[in-house]
Symmetry: D2
Subunit: 338 residues, 4 copies
């Protein structure tokens, strides 16, 4: 904690800040310069609002110098974390691809999808049974019936299952059918959900909110980890900016930034990142080149008739071709794809 | 639904789009121009993803021409809606002020606060018992004990209570103690929560998400309304932009925009809108001048020691002075404040 | 300048940073804590890139503690600056309104406009002779002929003239015809233009760029002031965000923020701030309530046939009505409007 | 041009819109649906403000259906454009790398830089002689002396020169010394500069403004092209978002989006895109994987003592290693790098 006093701040106001810091348990180092007095507070408390100091009389600005996340911090495990889910290891030299439709629509659809993505090299099938939709009048998913179809199709094709949990009450159901529980972008700060996921014995794929900073994403991971579940996959899936040519602006730089700040593996979602099929390939390639540990891609056997996200779903042939290119890029950056 | 075909799109691709529209239940009007063929679809379906058409061969762009929200639409009730909560009417000629601390901290704190804000002219006391915090290590609220204190203090001072509900499971508890249920910005798209609030017989104060468009805010209101609860207060509380001088950028223009698009009353939250006490007054004044139907303001009897949001809480005297100014501005725009 | 070293940074890396700071002319204060070493540098240099330190080995983060602008800083003139232009004083108790069409289109148009806005209480007429347009195929303004018409109409109606200068080479021409030179949002960081304006003996109305932080706006003012011209009016006119319901998002909070950071007067431009006529009134009212020192508003005698910005121009009657409301609001916040 | 009338718009208001369209030279197609009347206007005019129609009585919304840029449009040259500058061809199968320091600082610095980047495979040296700096107190470049050093170093090492022009008046000087004229992000809408560059016989590297949409970038290219100079290189260099972990958010998706919309080659600038050396490599790799036609990278022989942008400049060894990786990625996407 650093507090920079204003030029000419009175000794009284400096003392008031020191008293306040001491009350909060900080040891205070004072450095008196020509223009500014600087107070450095070292203490046991890492979570407090620096804004609370900035409005004190005589204070110019404050900075927290210890990050508010600890378990998610790279320093906690400098060598990085490899997350195991079944036979799949995410965060190691092999890049993992998760693929499948946006929603589970029917037994036939999901069986075809599973077969196709497995053949192309995916290790995990994705598919939503509970769908967060902006409009109450949109298709909301098949619920447990959808999860059953997804599980069966995955098992027949040697795949793991990742699927979204939208509410605390759905966790037991998801744990029964899925290998990895996904938290969607809109729920990244649903703290009750996060807290409960801390007690679950399944990896969690945590998507970045469309307006979440990278630090906030790490704090949300910390919520889950502080409950005991350390198996978190962080997912970049596009942020909201002024640009309207794409559905979101995919922040590819989040991949290397996260790899510096945290030991957790990073997943890239180019489908939601851009929202248009014809751009997904380029963004998937970019993600692999930037160092992503895994990809999650929407593929549909008949995207023109998909019940959701058809516009950003790849045709199966496109996905097959893409996987070939990705293998070349992965090799160029010292990784492999099955 | 409008589909604009590309210049030189083949007759085959035009027919394919027409077939698709007809299958979806649309009646199609075709307009063939020199450069572009335009297809206008009129039909029973209002919720579909225009992006699904934009990726079809030969299509240049699509536009939905019927808004996806209906019950929240101004046309549904052109004269505007006045929401009644106890003896308070929001959306009429009288502007309502809700005020109080960020969190309920102690019996003494909330009693002092209630007394002070009531005296200054507030009609509703705010105070959180369940706090959504970015960090798992922050104060998370006193839960039911907090709600009890809040209710008691409100009753002693003739105030109504507005308090935040963070999760579906908390709804019964909140209904017991609060007059208005608040949905926080982070939960604006927690659709399971919204759906459940549709069945509740209490007004809901729905805050705009920090990256939510005005249309998305209205769609979230629609979620609640489609369940039968039409008593929604929409709240502007700042959006996230590149500017760092303020905690958020308060979008004052959302007030008149909402008043054109919807019949629901609009509440302004200058405290979260800017996040710094010394700016709150100016933004409260601006909100009233722009036509807000109500304000929600953080006031704390001792903000320097508040457990949360102290930096943006007004001192009681500041709040009293502000109320006087607001009365002058309200009068200048044809409104009154008690 | 504050440098926070990483936990466990080697003594060698600390020394390297100290050496570097000393070489740059800083006096260094060292504060060694349990976890972090903090270096405080006090020195004559205020403009340097903190990022240059952040990439040094062992450094966690850096903060500049002296603002990079000095002449524009509130401390330079704590009592505030009143800018005089002809008989008009901006920044004092009287709020000034500037109004007129987007572009000077014809002698008749500008004469009618001048007469109408003067009658309603405006003191300055606005009108562009050189128009920055996103497309090369749009109307680009009448140049000197336009300026002549503007000057004549202003003189006949006792108004001052504010008009935009787009390029260094146009400065002499603008100085001949205008009382206040406007720098448009797109030119806020046209540093060659700013530098040249520092040598001019006319007030400059400097508009905030659509993606400029408040600090960058102040640095651009500093460019002009460092050349000797201290008569700067800072103008908020909307920033670019994700919201598409309005042309820009008008950052009303910039008004009180600027008034804390700088002694220069603040002008609000609600017309560009929102871009739609039906919202301009609400934003003008909000600007006055938030404390703006002046307003600049687009008014056109026949906006449906305006050559530019018709959609955001008020009808003369609307402007007249608005002025009446603004007087009431100004009075409520202790200001007056003629 | 499409005009969608509101539900229940009167026949009178429909006629008024038709009359207005006809006056502007449009042929109007009318399509009357159950709820909405839609007017399709086909005409010779492509540049007008749809907002002007949206404020007419009875109008719900308008859409321009012909893009406002023509010469830059992919349809104008569907096969793509290869820009020749000296012996270098940008936009063909070979990816071109431009590299060098942010500013030309000294003869020694630029000679070392030129030698190092040429050896690693760059074909063009970058270096600024005129520097746009946010603060008036920062190093502003060596001007013509800098250009001379840059030219000499380039010639000795078989490189071309790209350097920034900040003002119309500098064009002749830049033309004398540089092979490619760069327009910086802050000048992307300096229309007087763009117009003048339309008359120049040199390729222009046009950088995207930090808040510019892709469409606005193309309109700025159109400004230059409409003057006769069709040799434009479009450059993505990061946009401004809410994220502060990086200097800008590099919009990698702009690369494939531009390649669909325009025939002009696309250059990626990972150095400004992220602003931190340790992230530049990942973003350069991502850019090549996403299909960029060229890269422009900041390299400095001693970045710790650079006069500007040291934090984002690569060490020469890093640049050499990066070039090797880029060759592997280029091969995986069917391109080559010398």
């Amino acid at each position: 904690m650093l507090v920079v006093m204003q030029e000419g701040a009175s000794e009284e106001s400096v003392q008031r800040v020191i008293d306040r810091l001491v009350t909060m348990g900080f040891t205070v180092h004072r450095s008196t310069g020509v223009a500014h007095t600087i107070l450095g507070g070292v203490g046991p408390i890492d979570d407090f609002d620096p804004a609370g100091f900035e409005v004190l009389e005589g204070v110019q600005e404050c900075h927290r110098i210890v990050s508010a996340y600890k378990l998610a911090n790279r320093r906690f495990r400098p060598q990085g974390t490899v997350i195991e889910a079944g036979s799949v290891r995410i965060g190691g030299p092999e890049m993992i691809v998760m693929a499948g439709p946006c929603s589970v629509e029917s037994e036939e659809q999901i069986e075809i999808s599973a077969e196709q993505v497995a053949r192309a090299g995916a290790k995990v099938i994705r598919g939503g049974a509970f769908k967060p939709r902006s409009s109450p009048y949109s298709f909301q998913g098949h619920g447990e019936a959808g999860l059953k179809m997804l599980r069966a199709a995955a098992d027949r094709n040697g795949l793991l299952v990742v699927s979204e949990v939208m509410d605390r009450s759905q966790i037991p159901l998801l744990c029964e059918y899925a290998d990895i529980l996904q938290v969607g972008a809109r729920n990244m700060q649903n703290f009750n959900l996060l807290r409960e996921l801390g007690t679950v014995n399944k990896p969690v794929l945590l998507k970045r909110g469309i307006a979440a900073t990278i630090e906030e994403l790490l704090l949300s991971a910390e919520y889950i980890m502080s409950g005991g579940n350390h198996r978190i996959l962080l997912c970049e899936r596009g942020i909201r900016t002024f640009e309207t040519a794409t559905r979101n602006t995919m922040d590819i730089s989040a991949i290397p930034v996260l790899q510096q700040l945290t030991h957790l593996p990073v997943v890239a979602d180019p489908s939601h990142g851009v929202g248009k099929r014809q751009l997904v390939g380029a963004m998937a390639r970019a993600s692999v080149a930037a160092g992503a540990d895994a990809l999650i891609v929407e593929v549909h056997h008949d995207p023109d008739h998909a019940l959701s996200d058809g516009a950003q779903s790849l045709y199966p042939e496109q996905f097959g071709d893409l996987m070939k290119q990705l293998r070349g890029i992965a090799a160029a950056v010292g990784r492999s794809i099955a």
